[in-house]
Symmetry: C2
DNA sequence: TTATAATATGAACAATGTTCATTATATTTG
DNA sequence: CAAATATAATGAACATTGTTCATATTATAA
């Protein structure tokens, strides 16, 4: 009995210790993560350095290595946070649109807008070479399913309301994914097209070609009208040093 | 008269001197360019460093700065060479295909194959952040028109033989460009899809969706059959360190 | 052959990521 | 409460990066 009691007490104490340790550790990690996210949103990936992050967090550069294996580890952690933020961003921007193909289109445009506003996050998601993904497969999956996750609700709505052929959903999802990422890559990294308005015009044209011009049903690649850009974006930093 | 003679002689000598100087300068540049290209094809962009290039070329690292403004300048020069090489590569791989939509499709697949064989060149073309493009607009245009240039002959053939609607050519070109680059980005940089065969299957599916399943005419996004991969590729180095 | 111009070179600097012995702080023990 | 111990923060140090510049070497001129 006494033994059991002692064991329980010891376990409880250990648990509290571990818990406290964990809380403090998580707090410290949080400081560095927040600093990294701020830098990524501001200066972008090129501004991320161990000494930079540490200064922003108010610690010495070597302290980071007490909480993260290396700088890639730290940067990787930011990805899931940004994905969540991206989902909120899109939900906020599209909540007024009527459900269905219209909102699906607006969702894709809004997804693009998120990366136009934070080009550093696009770099992080799609361009960054991060060493040793071996253990980070989950993060890579998160990135690869990023657009699909953002659009999931709308796809479900469209499928359940017969607005799309279920057997075509996967192909169209893929088509959207590749087109959106290709366009963002060329625009943010290679200044093509050369103007924002031209980019948005191309974007809506491509989305209409993929999801159909008329609302309600997905038609197959009809003639795409160059509709005016759906969303305005004030701050595009093309992020080339 | 004598004056004129002297002037001409002097001019000639100067010209020869300049010419010689230029020849030697070009030769030196060539050594460094070749070294850089070899490294890019082998180790990829991550292997490119001033000291690495210099060693490969048999000179001291600082000698490079007598011939190039900086390392970006040197790397940039390689791009047009690779574009030419890519065009030859594609021409060689597709010469047996019947002209028209079939060869156009094969051309796009072959373009992809080039970058699968040399992922470092994909990095250079589309991912590299190269500082100060101000004066390099021509090179950027070369990259942005890379796929179009490779496909130009086939597009002309298809247009002049009524295999495509001329008013749709530009949109389809754009669709191909974004899709191909988006797919390459995800596959080479994010291991998606996870296998080569799955990637090639997706690629042919997307190309068929864009250019039509049946040969002869471009149909609008028909049901895409998962045809087997057209070209084999033995060496895919996904280039993540 | 000597004087001069051209060019190849490595030392030096700043900035990068990472490691590690040392200092400083917090906790446990006597 | 004081001393001993465990934990954590730190900057010095190293290797590697791109770039500059004074110097050494080589080629050309007189």
């Amino acid at each position: 009995m006494n033994n059991v009691h002692y064991i329980c007490t010891v376990n409880l104490i250990l648990e509290i210790m571990v818990s406290n340790k964990s809380i403090q550790e998580q707090r410290m990690k949080g400081y560095f993560i927040q600093a990294t996210k701020d830098i990524l949103k501001g200066e972008g990936l090129k501004g991320v350095s161990v000494r930079n992050i540490a200064q922003q967090a108010g610690y010495s550069y070597s302290t980071i290595y007490n909480y993260f294996k290396d700088v890639n580890d730290l940067v990787f952690v930011c990805i899931s946070d940004f994905q969540k933020e991206c989902e909120s961003f899109v939900a906020e921007q599209t909540k007024e649109k009527p459900q269905g193909i219209d909102r699906l289109k607006a969702t894709v445009v809004s997804y693009v807008n998120y990366f136009l506003e934070y080009p550093g996050i696009f770099d992080l998601f799609y361009l960054a070479k991060v060493g040793d993904f071996g253990h980070k497969a989950a993060t890579i999956d998160l990135i690869n399913g990023s657009l699909d996750a953002v659009c999931e609700k709308e796809w479900n709505y469209c499928a359940s309301h017969g607005l799309v052929k279920v057997e075509e959903v996967e192909r169209i999802k893929a088509q959207l994914r590749y087109t959106v990422i290709g366009m963002l890559l060329l625009y943010l990294n290679r200044r093509f097209p050369s103007s924002y308005s031209e980019f948005m015009s191309q974007l809506t044209m491509q989305i209409n070609a993929i999801l159909g011009n008329e609302e309600g049903t997905v038609k197959a690649v009809p003639d795409a009208t160059q509709s005016s850009s759906l969303v305005q974006n004030s701050l595009i930093s093309v992020n080339i040093r």
